[in-house]
Symmetry: C2
DNA sequence: TGTTTACTCTATTAGATTGATAGGGTAATT
DNA sequence: AATTACCCTATCAATCTAATAGAGTAAACA
């Protein structure tokens, strides 16, 4: 299941990407437009800023804005920040690999085999889509 | 993240599919071979039996066995029983569809758009794999 | 320079889910 | 009749999620 954090984060990014000018957008505006709890959205936008997707401006006329061109924002990167690993099990994760404690041999593990295919299928989707594609 | 329930369920199914004869296998044997909590495995096998994947035999020499040929057991069906919906959001689910309360229009929703692609990618993997493929 | 605006951070919380465990009940085989 | 092994209910600690509250801080503008 997709977490609300990811859902809200994606919506906020899409909202910012859809802006015609590059002026900062207030949290409250995004929260209202997308039906998101403002406080919860604050923390999400903060983490997106800390991971380099967004910039922020304080004070009057402040808000958040996209740092990169929407065409340059890959879904792989966004999903890894918001949702965490793309793989469904750590033993097939590229960026968060971890050996299963209970599994004696990955090469013969049926779960590993299936989840490897699932991971690759998901990666292909995320790699072939940018923020620009989502608002097209 | 894949739940342990699904992970264990898949392992158990693969274990049963790998049997040369069709004799029932005891829960304790599967639990031991796959490093699974026996009691937890009991409940998983029970749900697999209730959903038509497994049969069981009581008494001495009893246990669980596959009802269908491994080649006939689609991962789509297994995953839906063990893990639930394949889609990451209800608004793109084929079998568990539900409208998002907060989203005014699915047609223009960026999350919906992305998750639709993800669902299709996952479905393709699950549709093209049977239990027999996992133990090959 | 001071006030307003809006981002920043910490802490807390209720609720749901997960994974595991315990203990007894029941049906079928020998 | 006894044994074996499936069947079912209840409980529990731990974790995660989503939301909320409240105080702090930096920047803009008059």
């Amino acid at each position: 299941m997709l977490s609300k954090k990811t859902k809200y984060g994606l919506k906020a990014l899409a909202y910012l990407a859809a802006q015609t000018d590059k002026q900062p957008v207030q949290i409250s505006e995004i929260a209202k437009a997308e039906n998101i709890s403002q406080k919860f959205l604050e923390s999400i936008l903060l983490s997106l800023r800390k991971s380099g997707f967004l910039g922020s401006k304080k004070g009057k006329g402040g808000g958040y804005y996209l740092i990169k061109d929407p065409k340059e924002v890959l879904m792989t990167d966004v999903m890894r920040i918001l949702e965490g690993p793309i793989a469904m099990v750590p033993c097939v994760s590229l960026n968060f690999y971890e050996k299963c404690a209970d599994c004696p041999d990955e090469a013969t593990c049926s779960v590993n085999k299936l989840m490897l295919m699932v991971r690759d299928a998901n990666l292909e989707v995320y790699r072939n889509n940018t923020l620009a594609d989502l608002i097209a």
